[in-house]
């Protein structure tokens, strides 16, 4: 009788311990699943940034190309670019050629927009398979970008890393037919 009672108490104790163990296993599994879910979750992209950067890139290119340049005889910027790529027949105020005035213009409009908004950009205007008519990126006006995207090589020299400079980009693009060939205008707005 005593032995039976002892066995019964022992079984009850065993059941309680198993119950405790089950609770611990459930809790550990829950923590594990929650951790895995957080790890597997895709990195959240800044919705506003990705959307607006794409629009800004495209709008900048289309706006810039359609802008009228009154000091160059009311030609649009697209015509100035084509003239710069061909034979530079258009002359602007103070005897500037289309190519040199293009630089003044772009400096003006970049200052009023992308540079003022602290955007990280690369703007390239080039003849298809040929020379570059204009190139500018944000490192030319902000030294901190240069520091941010440099890496030190094993021999101690510091080198600018182009890959780090524009990891993720939103692009605005336009093609200007030239006959023969074409001029390509590309603006990359990069996410840092």
């Amino acid at each position: 009788m005593v032995s039976n009672q002892k066995r019964c108490t022992k079984t009850k104790k065993g059941q309680t311990e198993i119950f405790g163990l089950v609770i611990i296993v459930i809790l550990v599994t829950m923590f594990f699943l929650f951790g895995v879910r957080q790890l597997l979750r895709a990195p959240e992209e800044d919705f506003k940034q990705s959307y607006t950067q794409k629009e800004v890139a495209q709008y900048f290119v289309s706006t810039f190309l359609s802008t009228t340049v009154a000091p160059c005889g009311n030609y649009q910027v697209r015509e100035l670019i084509l003239d710069c790529a061909r034979n530079q027949n258009i002359y602007c105020e103070y005897g500037e050629t289309s190519c040199s005035y293009l630089e003044i213009l772009l400096d003006e409009y970049l200052n009023a927009s992308l540079r003022e908004w602290r955007k990280h950009y690369m703007l390239n205007i080039s003849v298809e398979g040929g020379e570059t008519l204009y190139y500018n990126d944000s490192r030319y006006y902000n030294d901190s970008y240069v520091r941010q995207f440099t890496r030190t090589l094993s021999n101690g020299t510091v080198q600018f890393d182009d890959r780090l400079f524009c990891l993720e980009r939103r692009q605005g693009r336009a093609f200007l037919p030239m006959n023969p060939g074409m001029v390509e205008v590309t603006l990359d707005i990069c996410t840092v």
Binding site: F47, K48, T52, V56, F64, T68, N74, Y109, S113
Partner: protein, 179 residues
């Protein structure tokens, strides 16, 4: 007597053990709950920010598409604003007597501040041109609350068309949305 004391001590140790296990259990539970709620709070905040961003983009799109401001053309011209419409609209919205109109635009733009800046070339002056300074700002809509928790700012390059002289200026549409 000794046997009784020994049993009592054993029971005390058992009880202490049980209490310790319970304390550790509850500490772990509380830590887990704190961790989880922190994560949830973060995701709710992210969702809220995303919602605010969407609202800001919506307002910016509404502003860039209203017929009161965009260029009148037979073909669809993207991101083009008529300078004279912008000037007239800006004057109308600034006039506090036009309460009905201001109310109408409140339903469209809510708590926001919308401006258009026109950037003609520096040092460019020509007789007859309205714009001869280095940049002119027009207020399209202004309803800034006294207190707000967050502010989203959007910029878009736009064409500002001057129909009389058939000139396209480089402009910037700036939309600030308050929450």
């Amino acid at each position: 007597m000794i046997f009784f004391r020994l049993k009592q001590k054993k029971a005390q140790i058992k009880m202490f053990e049980t209490i310790a296990v319970l304390i550790i259990f509850f500490i772990l539970l509380a830590a887990g709950f704190a961790f989880y709620s922190n994560f949830e709070r973060h995701s709710i905040k992210t969702e809220q920010m995303e919602q605010e961003s969407k609202e800001a983009i919506e307002i910016a799109q509404r502003a860039s598409l209203i017929p009161e401001l965009i260029c009148s053309s037979e073909t669809v011209t993207d991101n083009c604003f008529d300078l004279y419409k912008v000037m007239t609209f800006s004057e109308m919205i600034a006039d506090e007597a036009n309460l009905n109109q201001r109310m109408y635009y409140y339903y469209l733009f809510g708590l926001s501040n919308i401006t258009i800046t026109v950037h003609p070339l520096k040092n460019f002056e020509r007789e007859g041109y309205i714009l001869n300074d280095s940049g002119k700002r027009f207020s399209i809509y202004e309803n800034i609350p006294n207190t707000y928790t967050s502010k989203s700012v959007l910029f878009y390059p736009i064409i500002v068309y001057e129909p009389i002289y058939e000139i396209n200026h480089f402009g910037v549409l700036r939309v600030e949305v308050y929450n």
